[in-house]
Symmetry: C2
């Protein structure tokens, strides 16, 4: 028995299409959707939102928004606020003066889908550069198996989610058994950037896609570590600030 066997495992799932290869039972799952769902979730909760409710479709978003008091609906399709919803999927849209005390009902394509696929997890949290250190601290405290789940783009590998997963692996790897090539690959990618994430990502497909909508400033924001130091944790279908 090696010393590694006494550590919990740390794995990275690079796409929702690979999730079936991982044993999520009893594990902590970190949902990662850097551009931009999990960045927006961190910002909204840090700025005082009561909760963020992730839903799969625009229609679910509208229906739930109508039934929940003091709530806002939000979500984008193709870089625009989706028809029927009130707000977009940007961390910059939710300052404290606007979101404090409210419930944000949020529909996103990739992150929400991954979240709804997970079965039997001990805990589900969301991670982004905006809450990088808090995510790492939480995982170090729990001492459980961890799967970092990249939302990707329509089930494809993407660079920004993998880069964030690599940042987490680099920071906490000494306290986990890291036997998964995905985790090592993500860490190697991360360690190539010298921390200048946005420069590295300017060559990525999602950066190009969102740049066409003029969202460069937002993406720079989304890759800035620790602007919103909270741990969004899923409880009864809603993400709230972890207080343990």
């Amino acid at each position: 028995m090696s010393i590694l066997d006494s550590f919990p495992s740390l794995e990275v799932c690079l796409s929702p299409s690979l999730l079936h290869l991982y044993d999520t039972r009893g594990a902590i799952i970190v949902i990662i959707d850097v551009f931009r769902a999990t960045s927006t979730i961190a910002a909204a909760l840090h700025n005082g939102a009561a909760s963020v409710v992730p839903v799969a479709s625009v229609q679910d978003c509208i229906t739930l928004g109508n039934s929940l008091p003091n709530s806002l609906t939000a979500g984008e399709r193709d870089g625009q606020v989706a028809p029927g919803l009130q707000h977009g999927n940007s961390p910059l849209e939710y300052p404290s003066s606007f979101i404090s005390g409210k419930t944000l009902v949020l529909t996103t394509t990739n992150g929400t889908r991954l979240l709804h696929m997970i079965k039997g997890a001990d805990t589900i949290i969301t991670g982004s550069f905006l809450n990088l250190s808090e995510t790492c601290n939480f995982l170090l405290q729990q001492n459980k198996n961890v799967i970092l789940g990249c939302a990707g783009w329509k089930d494809r590998f993407n660079l920004e989610d993998t880069l964030f997963a690599g940042a987490v692996v680099e920071r906490i790897k000494d306290h986990f058994s890291v036997l998964c090539d995905s985790a090592k690959g993500a860490m190697h990618l991360h360690n190539q950037t010298d921390g200048n994430y946005i420069e590295f990502l300017k060559d990525s497909s999602h950066y190009r896609r969102l740049s066409a909508f003029g969202l460069q400033e937002e993406m720079a924001y989304c890759t800035t570590p620790d602007l919103h130091p909270v741990v969004p944790i899923l409880q009864n279908g809603a993400l709230v600030v972890n207080v343990s």
Copy 2:
């Protein structure tokens, strides 16, 4: 229309479980299984094998071996020659004095499965470090869309196949439209190694697994570029040396 639009596309599929996301119709697919199927295929064909017939199961291998004249059966399970077969899955087992003129019927777990999943491709070839330059030259000559298909390990991402894909991307990217984050990620990984592939891979899961069977020398061989400069191409269910 950008200049990129006039180039064929170059994409990397990191796992057979992601293949459904790619349009294989009319494309050249490069099957990659560095440890060790596609390395063995390059070595056997370069050393004079008449062809290599990839089959999915040990039983298929035995059946076909019995019916084909001048053939050998080969394949491993868990690092040992599979019961009922004659030889293993090592490029070092097939020197010219042994394999010349013979047909090698080969069963492997990951690479063969990927090969049989591909539909409608223009051309299927196999790639490995042992035939890296020939693979790149072939792709440059064809001027068609390319998908580099990593066999992975039981559908999981692995470092060695991704590293080879990255080596190909790095060499030929100026002649293709590379819009796929997987291709960029693979290239970034490759460019971290300074060409010392085996050192980089010593931390990989497959290296650990095969080291337990004493296969370090083989893995060093499998990561040496251009020892077997051929292009194995699939024709009528068998891999033969491309002569075009």
